[in-house]
Amino acid sequence: MPQTRDAAALHQAHDVDYAVTAHKVSKNYGDVEALKDLSLEFPRGQLTTLLGPSGCGKTTLLKIIAGLLAPNSGEIQVDRKTVTGPGPDRAFVFQDFALLPWASVIRNVAFGLELRGVAKSEREGIAEKYIQDVGLGGFENSFPHELSGGMRQRVGLARALAVDARVLLMDEPFSAVDEQTRRKFQEDLLSLVQHENKTFIFVTHSIEEAVYVSDQIAILLPRPSRVSEIIRPSGFRNRGSENIRRDPEYLDIVDRIWSSLRSYVE
């Protein structure tokens, strides 16, 4: 894939600004080595996807970046400051949405701000804006159990956006929604990356999804878990979201990732 490699070289030459860096991160769960000396850089304002077979440590890495887990060795830096715990510079979007089932949509969206001590009227004003942005206007006073899976994840996304963190961590955010909704989410995510100046770290199992939404794809392989390859799809990014899936480069990259991952799938 010459054009992707060139693109990568180009980026290197320009000395891109990294929002998040992982330096030789290792994490063990008892005897299980989940991550070993993993190093990876996440360019600012771009979307990086962690892709790899089940159990290779994607969630573990994401939680370490979020500050929810401490690494056994190595360090994560966000804006050149070492991560020691959760912080207002990062927000998490959960695979199972993690909404408060006893709270209305607006309180859920405002919950991050509530924990930060923002006054009620102010945080509800902010929440209201993001509820409109994710297309849930009119559902402010509904409860999570009254919403579809896709709508619930919009609430989870609005909550993460409402705290205005510079880094958004998303662990398989679309895996619990139906295929049509998922495609819509992917398009929305692309425009989000374009319009919000945030760094996205995204985990998915879907190769197509990874190639569709990512500026950079880090392929993780298990035992020992490390980054085996970094791919930067770049050629089709500005050709419009509706054309991506027919782009020859898109199809090539999907094929190439599949051939490197297929040996890990029994």
Binding site: A66, G67, L68, A91, D96, A98, L100, W102, L115, H145
Partner: protein, 250 residues
Amino acid sequence: MTVFGRRLPGMSSLILWGLLWEVVGRLGVTFFIPPLSEVLVTLFATIGTPAFTKALSETAYAFTMGVTSAIVIGVPVGILMGKNRLLDELLLPWVNIFLSAPLTALVPVLMVLFGFGMKSIIITTTLFAIWIIILNSRAGVMQINRSLIEMAHSFGASPIDAFVKIYFWAALPEILGGVRIGVIRAVKGVIIGQLLISIVGFGALFELYSANFLMSHFWAVLIVLFALAFTISEFLAFLERRVAYYAAKR
């Protein structure tokens, strides 16, 4: 319950049992069971008397104090046990022992420790109610969805915030269930306390009526007690239904 395809209102079976009671009472099978109608007449005659109101207020006071302390102590202890492995290992055996222990046997010990007054009665009531409240609060916390906790943590929740805004609410359906059963046990506790420790309140009335073979008085007080316990328990069941919409979806 449905009879001949028609739904009967709840508690209709009580009418049947009431009728049976009346019949058995009229037949004069035993002095122990006077007719229900006679009991009801006695009930309305006694309910306004100073002796009765005094008994009611004494019992209500001990009951309220006992249940309140059981909740105020039991719920946080249960939640902390659910959160903290070490605390759980330390306390769980004791909670289980006291849950199934014959607490009545402990009452004399309480009398030695806390005297023959209201204090001992309140503590007895608390002891009857608290264990199931602890156990249920603990169970409520243990089933909580891990990602809710991670969510709160990732948005910077302090331990107090997590306790008040996540753990308590997530465990609320189980807590209310525990409080409901605890309250029913507390009714037992307060009467046993009043019978064994100092003869006051409803305990005194029971003692008085049964010693003098005033059976319709005895049953009248029992019915009042049952009605009070039933009302409180139904009120808690109503609260439980209020949170049921999320109990299944945590």
